[in-house]
Symmetry: C2
Subunit: 251 residues, 2 copies
C-alpha cells in the first residue's frame, strides 16, 4: 500500500499579487509539480511515459483555498492517488502551512494519452499493480463539479502566444486560470476569503489560435467557457466561487 | 567583507517551453528571488524597507545564457553586490548547473525608492556599512548596455490585466520579458544557443493601461520599446541578441 508524499514549497516574490498573497496559478503550479514528483518516484512519471510515447493529461481539477499564503511563506503540498480506473486516475492534494494547518484541498482527474494518436490509453498499460499506488484515504474535498454550457453575458478574446505554451505547444493550465482571473471584478481579486475553482479541460488550444472567453456572472460564482477560433465547442470550462461557509468542513 | 551567497533552484514542469528547457522568465524569477533572499539575510530586504516606506526597484538588467537547463534540472544561483553608490547598487549573479558549470551570468542595477513620493532615495539611508555588503569580485559580465530609441518596424498592443501585476500593482518584470518574447520569430524561440538580454525600466506601467510594444528587427538582435497609453516616452526598453561568440569569455 502506498503512502501520501509531501513536498516543500515557498511563496516566491514573483508568486504574489497585490494582496501580497500567493496567486492561485502559483499554488496550482506547486500542485502540478508535486504530482510530477510523486508519479516519478512511483515509476509512472512523464519521463518514463515519454519513452513509450505516452503522457499524462489533466482532465479536471477542483481546488478549495481557505486562504492564500503570504509572500515568503513556506508551505507543504501532500498528494496521494485515491482511485485508479481504466481511463482516469484521481489524485488528491492538501496544502498545509508551516504550523501544519491545512489551508487548501484539491482533487484532480488525469487521463493518459498516446502522443501519436492523441487518444486516451487504458491505464492498465502502466503495468504497475494499481493497488500499490493507491492510498485508501477519502479525497480531500468533493470531486470536480459538472460544468454545463451557459449563456455568456460578456466575452473577451485572447490570441495564443509563445508564453502561453507548455512543453507540448498547448496552452498551459496556469494560463487558462490567468485568462479567467483577468476577467474577474476587482472585489473578487482582493477577496481573501475562501475560494473554490473547478476546471474541465476538453480540447487542447494551440499556438496561433484566437480564443474566445465567455463569462457568466452568477451569485457568488463566475463561470467561464473558452473556445478556439470561433468554434462552438468548449475547449476549457471553469468556475470560480466564493464564500461558501461549508468549505473545509469536509475534512 | 561580504561573501557570495548561493541558493538552490530546480526547473519545474511549468517553467519549460516547447524546447523542454527553462524559459528566460523562469530563470529571471530565480535571480530576483535570490536577490531578495540575499538582501534579507544582510539586513536590507524589502520587508525591513517596507516598514520605512522604502523598496528596491530594478532599474536595469543584463543577462547572458549559454544554454537554458532542461526540465527537472537543479541549478544554483550565486549572487553578490560589487558596487554600492548613492543612487544605484550593482548586484551580480551566476547560474551554475549540477556539475558546477556556469551557464548564465547577470548584472543588475537597483535603486531604492520612497513608496510615498515614488522618488529615489539616497542609498546611504540603508545605514549599513556599504563595504560590509560588497564582494570585491568583478561583475559577472559586461554591465547593461545603453538602449537607445529606434524606429519601430512593427508594433503590438497589450492591455494590462490582473495577472500582469506585481505586489505593487505595476506590471511585473517577468511579464515585460514575456511580452517581448511573444514577438520573437519561431527560429529565435527554438534557438538553443547563447542569448543576451538587456532591459531598462524607465517608468512603471499600471493596471488598465494599454501598452504599445515597438519592435525593431536588426541583424542578430531584436529591440523593444514599450510605452503606455500612446505616450511618446518609453516605459521599458529591451534587447535580445544571439550568437555572439564572445559570450562567456569575460569570465
Amino acid at each position: 500500500m502506498a503512502e501520501k508524499t509531501s513536498y516543500p514549497y515557498r511563496v516566491l516574490p514573483q508568486d504574489v499579487d497585490f494582496t501580497l498573497r500567493a496567486t492561485v496559478p502559483s499554488l496550482v503550479s506547486s500542485l502540478l509539480d508535486a504530482a510530477g514528483l510523486d508519479a516519478g518516484s512511483k515509476g509512472f512519471g512523464i519521463d518514463k511515459l515519454f519513452a513509450e510515447h505516452h503522457t499524462w493529461v489533466l482532465s479536471r481539477i477542483a481546488l478549495e483555498l481557505d486562504f492564500r499564503p503570504l509572500r515568503d511563506s513556506p508551505y507543504t503540498v501532500s498528494t496521494w492517488i485515491s482511485d485508479y480506473g481504466r481511463v482516469l486516475t484521481t489524485r488528491n492534494f492538501t496544502l498545509g502551512d508551516a504550523s501544519g494547518l491545512v489551508f487548501g484541498r484539491s482533487v484532480t482527474q488525469w487521463a493518459m494519452i498516446d502522443l501519436r494518436s492523441r487518444s486516451a490509453v487504458d491505464l492498465s498499460w502502466v503495468g504497475a499493480d494499481p493497488s500499490a499506488c493507491i492510498v485508501p484515504d477519502r479525497p480531500a474535498m468533493d470531486p470536480p463539479r459538472k460544468l454545463r454550457a451557459f449563456r455568456a453575458e460578456r466575452q473577451a478574446v485572447h490570441r495564443v502566444v509563445y508564453s502561453d505554451l507548455d512543453f507540448n505547444r498547448h496552452v498551459n493550465t496556469l494560463r487558462y486560470i490567468e485568462m479567467m482571473m483577468d476577467q474577474l471584478p476587482e472585489d473578487r481579486l482582493t477577496d481573501e476569503g475562501p475560494l473554490r475553482l473547478d476546471l474541465h479541460f476538453l480540447k487542447e488550444c494551440r499556438s496561433g489560435q484566437t480564443l474566445t472567453i465567455g463569462i457568466g456572472d452568477g451569485p457568488g460564482e463566475v463561470s467561464f467557457d473558452i473556445s478556439s477560433d470561433g468554434g462552438s465547442t468548449s475547449s476549457v470550462r471553469g468556475s470560480f466561487s466564493w464564500c461558501d461557509p461549508s468549505f473545509g468542513t469536509g475534512l
